[in-house]
């Protein structure tokens, strides 16, 4: 079976800065892949290229057997790619419910507004936001907004979900709940790419981790291998983390 998402030699430059340089990456169906790397490594840029926000300067992106390199964001969304934003982007003057309804209506399979609303309620219940359904999205706290992003993503019935730091800003206990949530999503058969700086999240969820640095893939492999990789430790984890690691694991 071919990979769900395939990047071949993808580069993206901003002026003189190469935010991504010939990245090759394949994500298999049903996988939960972690994407880590220092700040500014190009992780968000990669998500933007896959979803059509930025167009690859060179290279190709294939999704589900089709070339999606030149698609516009809404087209990517309709083919089954959903994402969350690192800097959350709700429709702040709309209610939480309406936000998710929009996702179900335009990105999902809902045929009418009423149907979309029903689906949205389901997703809100799933992420635990049903209490907040009628609040203005702009008045939510950061963590709630991140859950809202998740609900929006899910309402689109995606094949691939790109999570850009959805767990940032959660404390450990809240995070445990979030992890359970993401596991539940994966269990539905959704392929997931997680970008996160919280190693706890990445390590506990991902079957495979890829590491970006200066726009290049510097390592890929099982979590246990990655945390010991000298280059990853040097560029990303820091010595202290590496030292603390044995005690942890």
């Amino acid at each position: 079976m071919s990979a769900l998402l395939e990047l071949a030699g993808v580069s993206r430059a901003f002026g003189g800065l190469r935010a991504l340089s010939s990245v090759d990456l394949a994500v298999q169906r049903g996988e939960v892949v972690g994407l880590i790397g220092p700040n500014g490594a190009g992780k968000t840029t990669l998500v933007n290229v896959v979803t059509g926000v930025h167009r690859a300067t060179s290279g190709r992106v294939r999704f589900d057997g089709e070339d999606v390199t030149r698609l516009r964001p809404y087209q990517a969304a309709r083919r089954g790619i959903a994402r969350t934003f690192q800097i959350v982007q709700p429709f702040s003057a709309m209610t939480v419910l309406e936000n998710v309804t929009a996702a179900a209506l335009f990105g999902g399979a809902a045929r009418s507004i009423a149907e979309a609303r029903a689906q949205a309620r389901e997703q809100l219940a799933f992420v635990g936001l049903e209490q907040a359904a009628d609040r203005r999205a702009g008045a939510l706290t950061l963590a709630m907004r991140k859950r809202l992003e998740l609900a929006k993503g899910l309402a689109m019935r995606p094949k691939l979900l790109l999570l850009d730091e959805v767990n940032a800003g959660l404390n450990a206990v809240e995070m445990d709940a979030a992890l359970a949530l993401i596991r539940g999503i994966a269990a539905r058969g959704v392929t997931i790419v997680i970008i996160e700086h919280l190693m706890k999240v990445v390590l506990s969820l991902c079957s495979r981790i890829v590491v970006l640095h200066h726009g290049e893939l510097i390592a890929a492999g099982k979590p246990s291998e990655i945390v010991k990789d000298a280059r990853v430790v040097q560029a990303y984890l820091g010595r202290r983390y590496a030292e603390a690691q044995p005690a942890h694991g």
Binding site: N39, A41, A139, N171, V173
Partner: protein
């Protein structure tokens, strides 16, 4: 114990009809690093906004270095020596990194030489910013932006620095760097109040810790004590 640098009592504030802070009391002592933890929506951000004058409190007092700051404008608060690194960073996106840092020093009037010296010092602490000094802040990566935001806060040469969500979105190595940098600054006399979700990191960094719940400070204690408190462990540290 010395006089507190910041003493908050009975502070109430909210947004329109929504009251968020229901009488907050706590104190921060000079020269310490204090941290503020609490679950999502507890009102931590709201508290910092009230402290820095962005959100006028409806009641209560904020005493800072002997003066009363409740109801003061952000300008006066900053002038008195409290700088605030806001949630979401809020950099000036189309300004260069350097200009952002200079904006941090907007109220300072101690001369160009002092400014230049502080700028150099900042670049030492955050070398990546030196590299990107001419780049527009809006195009920095998330972590770079956070560093720039902290650095900008420092440029006002504050006595007390408030940081909302210190480690949010930062690579582990950077969190270490930042913590080291803050400790160094703290040793030089800077007082810090940090909101941090990673309670383990927070407890490690801070001397005193304040736990916030539903718009009130429910507990204030030395970090040491909290770390070993089973209730706190269960509520905020969790288990993997």
């Amino acid at each position: 114990m010395a006089e507190p640098l910041l003493a908050v009592s009975g502070l109430r504030a909210g947004y329109g009809d929504v009251q968020v802070l229901w009488g907050v009391d706590f104190a921060v002592h000079p020269g310490e690093i204090a941290c503020l933890v609490g679950s999502n929506g507890a009102g931590k951000t709201t508290l910092l906004r009230a402290l820095s004058g962005l959100l006028p409190p409806s009641e209560g007092s904020i005493r800072f270095a002997g003066g009363e700051l409740a109801g003061a404008s952000p300008e006066r608060v900053l002038g008195a020596g409290i700088a605030h690194v806001p949630e979401g960073r809020r950099l000036f996106a189309a300004m260069s990194v350097r200009d952002n840092l200079l904006m941090g020093a907007y109220l300072r009037r101690d001369g160009a030489a002092a400014l230049a010296r502080d700028l150099e010092r900042i670049y030492e602490v955050f070398p990546i910013l030196a590299e990107r000094r001419a780049q527009d802040a809006g195009t920095l990566s998330g972590g770079e932006q956070q560093m720039c935001a902290v650095a900008r806060g420092l440029m006002s040469a504050p006595r007390l620095l408030l940081i909302d969500e210190l480690s949010l979105g930062l690579a582990p190595a950077v969190v270490d760097q930042l913590s080291d940098a803050l400790r160094a600054l703290n040793r030089e006399g800077l007082t810090l109040l940090v909101v941090e979700q990673d309670v383990a990191t927070a407890l490690e960094l801070a001397r005193d810790c304040h736990v916030m719940d539903s718009g009130r400070i429910t507990r204030s204690a030395p970090s040491e004590a909290l770390r070993n408190d089973p209730a706190i462990r269960e509520a905020y540290l969790g288990v993997i």
